[in-house]
Symmetry: C2
Subunit: 463 residues, 2 copies
Amino acid sequence: MARKAAIIGGGVIGGGWAARFLLSGWDVAVFDPDPEAPRKIGEVLANARAALPALADVPMPAEGHLTFAETLTDAVQGADYIQESVSERLDLKHRVFAQIQQAAPDALLGSSTSGFKPSELQENSANPAVIFVAHPFNPVYLLPLAEIVPSPKNDPQRIEEAKEILREIGMFPLHIRKEIDAHIADRFLEAVWREALWLVKDGVATTEEIDEAIRMGFGLRWGQMGLFETYRVAGGEAGMKHFMAQFGPCLSWPWTKLMDVPEFTDELVDLIAGQSDAQSGHHTIRELERIRDRNLIGFLRVLKDSNWGAGKVLLEHDARRRVTAPDPTPDSAAPLVLAHMQVLPGWIDYNGHMTESRYLFASSETCDAFLRHIGAGMDYVAGGFSYYTAESHIMHAGEAKLGDRLTGSVQVLAADDKRLHLFIRIERGETLVASIEQMLLHVDMAAGNPARPGPRFWRVCVP
Amino acid sequence: MARKAAIIGGGVIGGGWAARFLLSGWDVAVFDPDPEAPRKIGEVLANARAALPALADVPMPAEGHLTFAETLTDAVQGADYIQESVSERLDLKHRVFAQIQQAAPDALLGSSTSGFKPSELQENSANPAVIFVAHPFNPVYLLPLAEIVPSPKNDPQRIEEAKEILREIGMFPLHIRKEIDAHIADRFLEAVWREALWLVKDGVATTEEIDEAIRMGFGLRWGQMGLFETYRVAGGEAGMKHFMAQFGPCLSWPWTKLMDVPEFTDELVDLIAGQSDAQSGHHTIRELERIRDRNLIGFLRVLKDSNWGAGKVLLEHDARRRVTAPDPTPDSAAPLVLAHMQVLPGWIDYNGHMTESRYLFASSETCDAFLRHIGAGMDYVAGGFSYYTAESHIMHAGEAKLGDRLTGSVQVLAADDKRLHLFIRIERGETLVASIEQMLLHVDMAAGNPARPGPRFWRVCVP
């Protein structure tokens, strides 16, 4: 049976949490007295459905069941995990927690608060041991970070349990060792926000110029390395100490003087809102969301290709979910199903179909899986031998579209001491999408010539 | 004749500038009294050669000629552009500028300073009108941002000239309207750095935890939208004013109190250097540079695919450099050379060769160019008709490797009222790498059936 998450507060953040749980196969009960909540959640969920699967290379689990509860008590009843994302008012959060813990006193209860410390959240609660900060980042369905902040009153084992649940839904729980106001990330965001307000107020730069100053430069760096690793590289071979010796003194330069908080007047709000309209007003918020998500998917897939940072989280998440293919029967002449793929946004051409070269890509993935299966994978290539494709004949039998789940199967038509003659089918369910007939040559890579493979291949290759 | 850039100061930043100019076809003279400068520049240049071409979709110009000048005067003689990247000491910069302007008083003279205002740089100079801030971001050969800061003493026309040169070498010159200490971006970096030092000093987080808090969350956002556009989206349909009303008050919360500068003691330096070693010490700086560059290339190509932010800069840069193919002679049966490509890092497989599906990709690019040529491009597809590939036969005749320049040519073998039978050659110079024989069907996309094309195709299609 699917597990149940209760989402209390159905705005952009609550909606993102709901989407992550649903798309990870959890049932979700949302409670939000706002009559608009189902529409809002629906919009976030539509975005998430178009985005999150594009990060996976293993099939997604069946989506969980979404309900909107009439009462907070209904929502949390039987929940394995509760996430609170109501407005940033401590008194409101306290009232919500009291109600939750009347119905579900022992359930894990994470708060999306960006500012409050867990010890503040726990004040006067029935069971402080299960209340903690789980602070996510918008869009919650794509960005892996969740800052997990416990207080000394928390049960460490329950916190580990919560972190494990977050990993299960593809997140990166960052355990913050000391509770402070605003945790870690929002302290940086706050520092930059404060500085940015000064720059706009003083007429040094517009909102657009400030955004360009970020995304054309250090923003790109910070998406893959953070602050310290970036500076470590900048310091060069001389190392981090050298970097600090060089740049540390800047801290006492006059440009650290503007650390007061600018007064938050109506004029400043109007100035910023006006500049933001001029900068981005030609896109609707929905358009900007789609653009943002497409870019984030791209970045995350780049990081996944390099097994780095957030991409490492995605690979590990795939690994924990990977469906092990049934062990193929090597002595049968029936096609071996060796690859499972999903058509991703980057695979689509201007016709709206899978782009031509991706059919061969799907075939290559299948062929690579076959070569691994017969013992000619990466280790074998490292030894100086490999199979090279000499000839491919592609017949297009259908069209694959965004989100289609494809399987790749291999049938060995013939094999001799140098050649491997394969027939690869790319199918959507029972429907053939394309067939690829290939002739591969076994090659001594150093010599650059075809060469006889070792006897171990013969077991599976000869039909 | 190639134009000449003089690079004064040959560290990581100067090397990055040198690489950008060289790879854009400029001759470069470097002056740096450090005997290690040629080695250091050589290392940056090697990184740049492996990275910058991966962003281009038009052939790169021939690399310029690199020289190391014996004297500063030799370096700047006849230079069309001079970039200073010496240490951040105002007296040193003043001495260097005086020497430069003795030999080249009218040459554009950009400074890589991250902190000084242009009016400070211009003090007591022979010709202040040509001295300005051109502040780049590491790695200079990949990140497009250059903050261009003039003072009232600058000649606005010369500043426009400088911005045009920077665009020519693929950068995004951000014109800063008011000079302030540290310009724009480094004020943010400084604010975050200050906050990060406090967090480490107070034992709230390690350098690694801080980096994760950035790159797993808001760092990904900032690589494609900046601060204000990100928040605009977060504010949802209610808009920027709503967002500010919701989050503005946070500025007066207690967590803005830590705005003092932490004392920069040896203990703090040791603490940070030690944590950084624990976090990243298992990679050499060279490895980290390669990882960083590969990730940045990936991000930038994602943005290029979506014509967004830094990717828009890349597309515009391609457009200004695109070599217009010679007008093909449509009544000849000789192959039409229609596509020029370069093998990019992402096209390489574990064998070190161009991956199988990329041969078909090169063929598709060529075929698309052919379809555009006969009037069946994007506009035509928008009208509901398109050519779909029914069958492809690929013969591999050679191997393409990283950086190879390939051409794609098309020969029409046959064409009738629904079919187009093409023979595509992918060649490296005179050498055939692969041939692809294809049968395309003209399709009414709404009906999903083959359909007769309009008469306008026949001029070129019939051999």
